[in-house]
């Protein structure tokens, strides 16, 4: 309740309960805003609530709309339920429509995320560790290249990548989506910084003195220490690959290899095709199903992620 302004005046004004003005006078108001009891601000609370509302409303809309039939969607208001509760029918139909192609898209996405995001994380960890802990000529050049690569948006690279992959005969195959996903300059940079802070060089030296080889040192000593960083990078690459739309759009023509993003869009487009069937209810339900694994991943991994973000911020 206490606003920053009020707190400031509190401090200078004589405290009402201030019989002993001498020693605790300066300390009392400060202790009220410790890490356990942060200072409260009405303005901040209102702003965060607004942002929270802003980010939750679409989700609520999605969840509510997934319970409606195609007819119900156009009949009822967006943020409340329609008469018939069709969630189960929608889910069944989503999985059976067009010979169950949705399941195929789901598996494709899992494949792209598994190999793409998993591989990207693995490469980022190897690269980041090496760059952080080994001194070799050209490190600064690598740094410049990585930072430069972070600055180039993936969309800008899509067409050149397409032409290159087409020369290699890889377009219209899953490799065209997986191989570009393996490269994550941002992930590499993050792992690099993280490894610098998280692995004490002394620990590596101790391991070497005890007779561990480089591979053993990496897997037994470094890897456990890097866990929070790995999870962070994994989450980033996972979300990026899961939501990837443009790259598969350019690379893939065969609906059998579509990820969920492209597949759902193709269902959405049907409504704009002469003679096509509008299946907004399935698009909505499919979208809801699509985000569930991401939400689950976040909930499961977030504790690692939080500790990961704070790592290196305090000098020990």
């Amino acid at each position: 309740m206490t606003s920053p302004v009020a707190t400031a005046s509190d401090r200078s004004a004589p405290t009402p309960s201030g019989t002993s003005r001498s020693a605790p006078r300066l300390r009392t108001p400060r202790r009220r805003h410790s890490a356990d009891q942060p200072r409260r601000s009405v303005l901040l609370t209102v702003l965060t609530s607004l942002v929270l509302l802003y980010s939750l409303v679409p989700l609520v809309w999605l969840a509510i709309s997934a319970t409606k039939t195609q007819e119900g969607l156009s009949r009822s208001a967006g943020l409340w339920f329609d008469g018939d509760f069709a969630l189960w029918d929608n889910i069944t139909e989503t999985f059976t429509y067009h010979d169950g192609v949705f399941t195929r898209w789901l598996l494709n996405t899992l494949l792209y995320v598994g190999l793409g995001a998993g591989g990207a994380t693995f490469l980022a960890v190897l690269g980041g560790y090496a760059l952080a802990k080994f001194d070799f000529p050209g490190r600064r050049a690598v740094f410049a290249v990585v930072i430069g690569a972070v600055a180039v948006p993936g969309t800008a690279l899509a067409v050149p990548t397409f032409l290159m992959f087409s020369k290699m005969g890889l377009t219209n195959t899953p490799w065209a989506v997986i191989i570009p996903s393996l490269i994550s300059p941002f992930g590499l940079y993050l792992m690099w910084v993280f490894a610098t802070e998280a692995i004490p060089t002394e620990l590596m030296e101790a391991a070497r003195i005890d007779g561990a080889g480089e591979v053993r040192t990496f897997f037994r000593v470094a890897l456990p220490l890097l866990a929070p960083g790995i999870v962070t990078v994994l989450l980033f690459t996972m979300v990026a690959t899961w939501n990837n739309y443009f790259l598969p759009l350019v690379m893939l023509k065969d609906p059998d290899w579509y990820p969920l993003t492209l597949g759902l869009n193709s269902w959405n487009q049907q409504a704009a095709t002469a003679g096509g069937e509008a299946v907004f209810n399935l698009v909505v339900t499919g979208s809801l199903i699509t985000i569930l694994p991401l939400i689950a991943a976040f909930l499961l991994l977030q504790k690692y992620w939080q500790s990961g973000l704070a790592a290196g911020s305090v000098k020990e």
Partner: protein
């Protein structure tokens, strides 16, 4: 057939345009081997031999009724496999096709291309001229609008028309009856109806339009404007003719008096408006019934079809909106087999199959057949709407042409003409800046453009 009008998010659109531009640029600088080998004649015997020999053809199309046609074709010709791929709807597919052509890899044997986009591929020699297969002899089978579309302003025949979109006025009879409004026969009456309706129910609008290139060009077509003249690589763009003034004069009033619902077409919201009566009419192509039936189920029985309102009372002029054809990309393989499929689907038995599944034909014989014209639409309260569509098809002036880069031009429509719907600029000013943008792009692509 679908609609140029698909509205993705702006950002996606911009992305697509970028790729298109890049791809076009790439193909413009990289095509050295179009040494025009397409003029060899392919006889009926060659086609039969190819069918007997069999093989696989890849068809890129999003038209839903083709699925059955492909199955039937495979059954009729064992040994032939038709690989039907939905490589995206309209713009998405063109991007993909342009990419494949630039890369000279993965080009389909047959591709669905809308009439408005035909010139882009035909005039840059990316499609096989089907005259070598004798396709020019089929001209009498198709209605004038679509046939003009596949000729793309030259004397080649670059595709066979698959469907067409002669325009008609779809209107919500329940709404019109409720407020006692007469169905307009001229655009002047339409304007009055818009005013009366919006006055009677402030939530209802005569139609939804927030700037759509396909609709605008169709309206200009009907109003007698001929903004694009194409002669090989010489292009003229001029929006200053009387027809354009006729269109903008009326439509500007609808915009100024805020009589148009600002709902993007093909969205959930749009279908909702069509279903609940807040969007009372649609002037669009004859392929619309199937979409109304699936997208606006709630309004079944409310809607009817009327002939297009005229610019001059008593006239009988219509236009085409949407519609697409099947073409053979130059870089595709197995041409004889591909042509056999296209002919089967668009001029042979396939037409009946597609009609049965709700497609709208481009073939005059089918348009005129009593069976077709007597089909009653339960959605339109039992009305025999095909009669109106068929009449409209015959009233389409066949001298319209699109730009050889209409896909690009349409993609910048919202940045130019579209401004009239959201800000103080007028439609006429918007057309001017659309013209400028189109001229500039054409010159960059190596066309000789005259204003």
């Amino acid at each position: 057939m679908p609609t140029h009008l698909t509205k993705h998010s702006r950002r996606l659109l911009r992305g697509t345009v970028l790729v298109c531009a890049l791809a076009l640029g790439a193909s413009a600088c990289g095509d050295s081997d179009d040494g025009g080998s397409s003029q060899k004649a392919v006889s009926e015997a060659d086609i039969q031999a190819a069918l007997k020999e069999g093989g696989t053809i890849t068809v890129w199309a999003w038209e839903p009724t083709l699925k059955q046609v492909a199955t039937d074709f495979e059954k009729k010709h064992p040994g032939v496999k038709v690989d039907l791929v939905n490589a995206g709807t309209n713009k998405d597919q063109y991007t993909a096709l342009q990419n494949a052509i630039s890369a000279k890899k993965g080009v389909p044997d047959v591709a669905q291309i809308e009439y408005y986009a035909m010139g882009q591929y035909a005039l840059t020699k990316q499609l096989t001229d089907l005259k070598s297969f004798g396709a020019d002899k089929l001209s009498a089978q198709f209605s004038p609008g679509p046939w003009n579309g596949v000729k793309a302003g030259s004397d080649g025949v670059y595709a066979l028309p698959m469907d067409s979109g002669p325009m008609a006025l779809f209107y919500n009879k329940k709404v019109f009856d409720k407020y006692d409004i007469k169905v307009p026969t001229t655009w002047a009456e339409y304007l009055d109806a818009a005013r009366d309706l919006h006055k009677a129910d402030p939530k209802a609008y005569i139609t939804a339009d927030n700037g759509d290139a396909g609709f605008a060009t169709s309206m200009l077509w009907q109003a007698g404007s001929r903004p694009y003249t194409v002669d090989g690589t010489k292009v003229k763009i001029d929006f200053s003719d009387q027809g354009a003034k006729t269109f903008t004069g009326t439509w500007q009033q609808l915009i100024d008096e805020k009589l148009l619902a600002s709902v993007p077409a093909w969205t959930d919201e749009w279908y909702k408006g069509l279903g609940d009566g807040s969007i009372a009419t649609l002037a669009t192509g004859a392929w619309m019934p199937a979409n109304l039936e699936s997208g606006a189920k709630a309004a079944s029985g409310d809607w009817r079809v009327a002939p297009m309102p005229q610019w001059k009372a008593g006239d009988k002029v219509s236009a085409e909106n949407g519609g697409s054809a099947l073409a053979l990309p130059e870089l595709g393989k197995n041409e004889a087999l591909a042509y056999a499929f296209v002919e089967y689907a668009n001029a042979g038995d396939g037409v009946q199959t597609r009609l049965k599944n709700g497609a709208f034909p481009a073939t005059t014989a089918d348009l005129q057949s009593t069976k077709f014209q007597d089909t009653a639409f339960p959605y339109f309260g039992g009305q025999k709407a095909n009669k109106i569509f068929a009449e409209s098809a015959a009233e389409v002036p066949d001298d319209w042409s699109y730009l050889p880069y209409q896909v690009y031009a349409n993609s910048v429509f919202n940045d130019t003409v579209g401004k009239a719907y959201v800000s103080g600029t007028t439609l006429a000013e918007g057309l001017e800046s659309w013209q400028e943008a189109s001229v500039k792009y054409g010159e960059e692509q190596g066309f000789t453009v005259e204003k």
